[in-house]
Amino acid sequence: MDSSLLFGFTMIAYILASAIYIGGLLFKTPRLGLAGTCLTWGGVAMHSVATLLRWQESYQIGAGHAPLTNMYESLVFFALCIALTHLFLEHRYKVRMLGAFVLPLAALSMAYASFSPRIDDSIKPLIPALQSNWLIAHVVTCFIGYGAFAVGGALGLVYLLKNSRTPKEEQAAHSLLPGLAAIDELIYKTLIFGFLWLSAGIITGAIWANEAWGTYWSWDPKETWSIITWFLYAITLHVRFTRGWSGTRIAWLSLVGFVAVLFTYFGVNFFLSGLHSYGSS
């Protein structure tokens, strides 16, 4: 069995899990949610094995490196981070049905990685600039942060949807979802978690740049957008903590923050030019 086949199964597992979570929510069947959770766990297990396999395969073709070095590999890892964050929240806060909003993001990331014609899934050897352990530290920290922000964005959406319903409808359609106050608290939790990891990601990136080029910060568009994203989340934390914002406004900020994350991740590659290599492959 090779890694790409296993990644294919992983994608199918995430798609099915999304469908089942959504079905469970629409038809108010908590038992479907349990099936969604099992599929997600299965997906994450296959995902991890496939990642290790791909790592090993890269050694077989003489290009040995962790599978975190191009757009394809980062999208796949992004999906893993999203799925893991969801499983953690589900386990810790008993919020299974949020999977209906979160798992589609993981499925989408896998599907985009597999099917987009702009994305090359072959294993390539590393150019000299990428041969650094800081690369692994940088990508892992950034994407744990991105995964948390993705979940935060999805939670923001849930909050806004739930909040826009009249109470009676709400009773009918969303009784399986946590209450508004609980979602608000979860948004805050995912944002601080993401903020810590995004900070670590920016820092490891700076150290790596300094090791490779002698400048820890050069205002390259990707760096600049990552700091813009960081500023946005810093604003969110401050308005919440010092101005007492919560609820709808934080839910919107969480969505806006996630859009900034997406722009930092994709937009910069497609619209702007710079040092980062993910866009070219």
Partner: protein, 454 residues
């Protein structure tokens, strides 16, 4: 120090609204430099945006906006904001932490959100037994108690991580440390403020193999020639490729000389720089020359020669009794992969064969055995950086992560237990935290339940 007689400027600089506004301005203006190319030739702006816009850009320093007067000004204002805001709040926090918690009255406790009234008369009828039990109970759960006897009872108090309230200020201070490091390591600061251009700089060097230098060419501004204070020599440059033609390694062997004496020799690659006396040399580029170094050894005589030659020219090696030269080349761009060597010792046909770069080839002739290695000559391109502020930046980064962890995940928690002496034997058990309320509530409830059971 009362807040009524505050200077309006201080009040302005201490406000969080200003901080939010500045963060917003920094985030939005930073976008400009990701859309409009930075540090390009002036002509480019005229061409792309027209002369009017180009002139306007010039006024606002848009072509180098992250070093412009207004962006630096925003950062300076932000720094002042951060300092004043924290300086305003830290004394208040210290006063809060110094407050005597044992002064808390039962009436105040009764208003706490986390509160349980527990009847202890059944399990521990005696007042002192109750106290002993409570002291042990707290200790067993990892809380160190203080106590004070009051008119109508005894108050036990314990707290955890009061210092965690400083986490936020560790984060704020870390930003100041990073900015201080950035200023200290900035070439502009070295040039304009310290008037000493070799205190901090970024520059580049192009060194041919066997060449040496004692200065670097500054990348930006000021006197372009910066003295290193020692000599750097490039012994070799080596480039290797993967089978698919992608570059695999760029490596330079560098030697540092002080007063003509070799003091350090090291290979550098991308991601593995050389550090010497505060200067770091990074592998950044290379330039192939159309010259070749040939090493020849003749056996069994065991004599050697080494020469740098150009293609299509016949070379004599009298000692070795041969003439040789390069008669053809196989190249990829400027980089030579193989050359065709012609070699003749005056007897019979000349030898012609293709040899790979950097690989020893054996040529058998009537006059002897010739071992030949040929290598293209390169110049290595190095970045040189002297950044005396980088350790501060790294320290600030570490502080930031530690501070964020404290600010987000640790909280200041207090527990109180008041045991009345007179009349009622109710125990007042109360708790308080500054953050992570849900989590602490769970701990509090579990403890209160246990107290009730026995």
């Amino acid at each position: 120090m009362s807040s009524q007689q505050k200077n309006p400027l201080i009040e302005f600089l201490a406000s969080v609204q200003l901080a939010i506004f500045l963060l917003f301005l920094l985030a939005t203006t930073a976008i400009i430099g990701t859309i409009i190319p930075q540090n390009a030739q002036p002509a480019l702006y005229v061409e792309q945006y027209g002369p009017m816009a180009a002139h306007f850009f010039q006024l606002l320093d848009i072509p180098d906006m992250y070093n412009s007067w207004w962006f630096t000004g925003l950062l300076a204002l932000f720094t002042a904001n951060l300092i004043v805001c924290s300086a305003d709040r830290i004394p208040r926090l210290i006063r809060l932490l110094r407050r005597d918690n044992l002064e808390t009255t039962p009436e105040q406790l009764a208003r706490y959100e986390l509160l349980r009234r527990i009847d202890m008369s059944l399990t521990h009828p005696d007042h002192n037994a109750q106290l002993d039990h409570l002291r042990q109970f707290f200790r067993k759960h990892g809380w160190k108690t203080q106590e004070r006897r009051k008119d109508n009872g005894v108050l036990l108090f314990a707290q955890k991580a009061p210092w965690s309230r400083f986490g936020v200020y560790v984060v704020h201070a870390s930003i100041l440390v990073i900015l201080a490091g950035a200023v200290l390591g900035s070439p502009a600061f070295a040039r304009k403020v310290l008037k000493q251009n070799n205190f901090a700089y970024k520059g580049s060097i192009m060194l041919p193999e066997q060449g040496s230098t004692d200065h670097v060419i500054s990348s930006k501004g000021g006197d372009p020639v910066i003295d290193l204070g020692f000599t750097l020599r490039c012994d070799h440059f080596h480039i290797a490729f993967y089978d698919n033609g992608m570059p695999k390694t760029y490596r330079s062997q560098l030697t540092v000389l002080e007063n003509g004496k070799e003091v350090l020799q090291q290979d550098i690659e991308v991601n593995r720089p050389l550090k010497y006396r505060g200067v770091t040399f990074y592998q950044s580029s290379y330039q192939p020359y159309q010259d070749y170094t040939v090493q020849l050894r003749k056996e069994p005589d065991n004599i050697v020669t080494s020469q740098t030659i150009v293609p299509a020219r016949q070379i004599q090696w009298q000692e070795g009794g041969i003439s040789y030269g390069i008669i053809n080349r196989e190249r990829q761009g400027e980089i030579t992969r193989r050359v065709k060597i012609w070699l003749h010792d005056g007897e019979g046909e000349a030898t012609q064969l293709w040899v790979e770069m950097n690989q020893e080839t054996v040529i058998e002739r009537a006059s002897g055995k010739y071992l030949l290695t040929i290598k293209q000559v390169y110049a290595t391109g190095l970045q040189a950086a002297k950044d005396p502020g980088v350790w501060l930046v790294y320290l600030g980064c570490l502080l930031m992560l530690v501070g964020l962890y404290i600010a987000f995940f640790l909280s200041h928690r207090k527990l109180f237990a008041f045991v009345g002496t007179s009349g009622s034997s109710d125990l007042l058990f109360a708790g308080m935290t500054n953050k992570n309320k849900v989590q602490f509530e769970r701990i509090f409830t579990r403890m209160a339940d246990k107290l009730e059971q026995r």
